[in-house]
């Protein structure tokens, strides 16, 4: 990381002429180059950006709001330009375009926030366990092992049932479930890093454990973490839509892709569109996150170099 913006060295030959040193390329510059050479990953990045943008801006610009009932078209009207329902309406006359975009906003937000929670817990536990080693490591990793044996989806559902369906609880609960693998990966990386000379130098210079973890361990596990984050986001979106699909997610009139799919499924015989449109949005988003994650792994994974 620290070499990301290293200037060209100002060397001189014995005869006094300036030598133009080769500009160093950092890991991140290399990774960016490799990522941009990967067509599927770049396309996925663009599609994700577009979906995120329309989900943020779209619900405000759409002719109808997500919870507004158009009393002239209460029974699932097909798409038409005249009524300004570009995707048609659902069975109670709400605009499907506005609802799909708003659902995207909810799904993506939960995906990002829950992944953030998982990231903070996972990286902290992994780095601390790996760096300190010994008893702390044993204790933390046995706990992770134990959590792996637990059917965690069940626990998220139990929590949602017990404490009510609420947005904040949902991403906290999902985040608390998804951090396990992150912790294991970060621990493995930290163990490898610990053997490196610069870590020894940092210790010799008198750095405290915390500052070494923050300044030296964390930046160096960033590559792996970024890859894993891109792969966790779709998992979380999937879990959220699964909960909403079962009727345990966000509450009406709020909506998410999973909930729209569940509503559309009731109607699929008469109006397959109400199922297919949100399902298509969800699937495309999941695809793109997976391709992007794969692309990032190819770009950042030191093993393949």
């Amino acid at each position: 990381m620290s070499e990301a913006t290293r200037p060209g060295l100002n060397l001189r030959s014995p005869h006094g002429e300036a030598l133009t040193a080769v500009e160093g390329r950092s890991l991140w510059q290399d990774a960016r180059r490799r990522l941009f050479a990967n067509r599927a990953a770049v396309l996925s990045l663009i599609v994700i950006a577009v979906i995120a943008f329309v989900s943020i801006v779209g619900p405000e610009l759409a002719p109808w709001t997500y919870d507004q009932i158009d009393w002239d078209h209460v029974e699932a009207t097909p798409p038409s330009l005249e009524t300004k329902h570009y995707f048609g309406t659902d069975t109670v006359g709400r605009d499907l375009l506005a609802r799909t975009l708003f659902g995207g906003r909810v799904s993506l937000t939960v995906g990002l926030l829950a992944t953030l929670v998982a990231l903070v817990i996972g990286v902290t536990v992994g780095a601390v366990a790996g760096y300190l080693g010994g008893k702390v490591d044993q204790l933390l990793m046995r706990f992770v092992d134990l959590m792996y044996a637990v059917p965690l989806t069940f626990f998220v559902i139990i929590l949602m049932v017990l404490f009510g369906r609420n947005f904040i609880l949902m991403f906290l609960a999902i985040g608390c479930v998804e951090w396990l693998t992150m912790a294991r990966i970060v621990r493995g990386q930290t163990l490898a890093l610990k053997q490196k000379e610069f870590m020894e130098a940092a210790r010799a210079a008198g750095g405290s454990s915390w500052s070494i973890i923050l300044r030296h361990v964390m930046p160096n596990v960033l590559g792996v973490v970024v890859v894993y984050v891109t792969l966790t986001i779709p998992q979380v979106i999937l879990l959220e839509s699964f909960l909403s699909f079962l009727g345990l997610g966000v509450q009406e009139p709020m909506t998410s892709w999973g909930m729209l799919i569940s509503e559309g499924a009731q109607e699929m015989e008469a109006n397959p569109r109400t199922l297919i449109i949100p399902a298509a949005f969800l699937t495309i988003a999941l695809f793109c996150f997976n391709f992007l994650g794969d692309g990032l792994r190819d770009a950042l994974d030191p093993k393949d170099r």
Binding site: A149, F154, F155, I158, L162, L246, L282
Partner: protein, 311 residues
């Protein structure tokens, strides 16, 4: 190996106990209860109900009661299905889930492994890309989307043709009613197994002993089946353990979509109805199965890879 298995079983007991305890106290500490009806119940009736389900006792007495019951295979009475105990409900639901899960697991292995090998042997060919593309689709599209799309196609659009399959009913487990749920269950697992198999097969084909075997002039087929496959299977087995446990304990989504009377659907129903004893029962059974499946996987490791030592 004997002492190892014994020790693992001994570790499994406290794990299961921890799960039971956390579940129990979460359920009891939660605000609201199973008897929060729309219309308020008379206090006398409520008192009777609470007495019937031992809810009027101190928390720890209830806990000991529950643990004691569990040891005798008694999960307590269901809060909502008044005439059934949770044990009876699980006894009804588990076979349905397990049958479908087993079929799906067999399907996943039968298709996943050959597909993965086929892709690995012709790396970066059209065949490889096709298999991996389909696998990506299988992994990414959520089951509740595939389930509905298949229902839409085979249940609705092909209604009047020979390909019509009944939608959203169980019908006592008649064969046509089982086809779609089992396919939906198996699809993501076929995909993941194919991917894992491809990766490990490619690695195995690059090892020295495979090169030696080929240099000796052994037929290609024999090298693949005898030398490469055995090592390449290890990662698949790791994945299969939890996967089979998951399949046997029933998919909540599939069972909800297809209205199958399995324990996954009981869990969802129980969760929506706040039927605490039922939810706990299913969670405990699933956890036990997952722990057991992981143990079996670790034992099979040693059979596949003699370098693994049980400590």
């Amino acid at each position: 190996m004997g002492p190892y298995v014994l020790r693992r079983l001994l570790i499994a007991i406290p794990t299961l106990w921890a799960i039971i305890t956390v579940c129990f106290f979460l359920m009891r500490l939660a605000p609201g209860g199973p008897f929060d009806a729309e219309a308020p119940v008379a206090p006398e009736v409520l008192a009777n109900l609470r007495a019937r389900y031992n809810l009027d006792e101190p928390l720890f007495t209830q806990y000991w009661h529950y643990l004691g019951g569990l040891l005798q295979g008694d999960f307590g009475p269901s809060f909502k299905y008044k005439d059934f105990s949770v044990t009876e409900l699980i006894a009804q639901g588990l076979p349905v889930s397990a049958q479908n899960g087993l079929c799906a697991a067999i399907l996943a292995v039968l298709f996943g492994i050959p597909l993965g090998i086929a892709a690995a042997l012709k790396q970066n060919s059209g065949r490889d890309h096709a298999v991996m593309g389909v696998a990506m689709v299988g992994i990414v599209i959520p089951t509740f989307v595939t389930a509905h799309l298949l229902l839409l196609i085979f249940g609705v659009w092909l209604k009047d043709t020979a390909f019509h399959l009944p939608a959203g009913t169980w019908n006592g487990g008649a064969l046509p009613n089982r086809i779609l749920p089992v396919i939906c269950l198996a699809l993501p697992f076929v995909a993941v197994i194919a991917r894992i198999m491809r990766g490990s097969m490619i690695e195995a084909m690059r090892t020295n002993y495979v090169r030696t075997a080929r240099a000796k002039g052994l037929p290609f087929r024999k090298v693949v089946m005898h030398h490469a496959l055995k090592t390449a299977l290890t990662p698949v087995v790791t994945y299969l353990g939890p996967a089979i446990a998951f399949l046997l304990t029933g998919s909540m989504v599939i069972e909800t979509v297809f209205q199958l009377p399995g324990i996954g659907r009981y869990f969802v129903q129980g969760a929506l109805n706040r039927d605490y004893t039922l939810v706990m029962g299913v969670t405990i059974i699933s956890a036990a199965l997952i722990i057991f499946a992981n143990l079996i996987v670790d034992v099979i490791y040693g059979v596949l890879d003699p370098r693994v030592r049980y400590e």
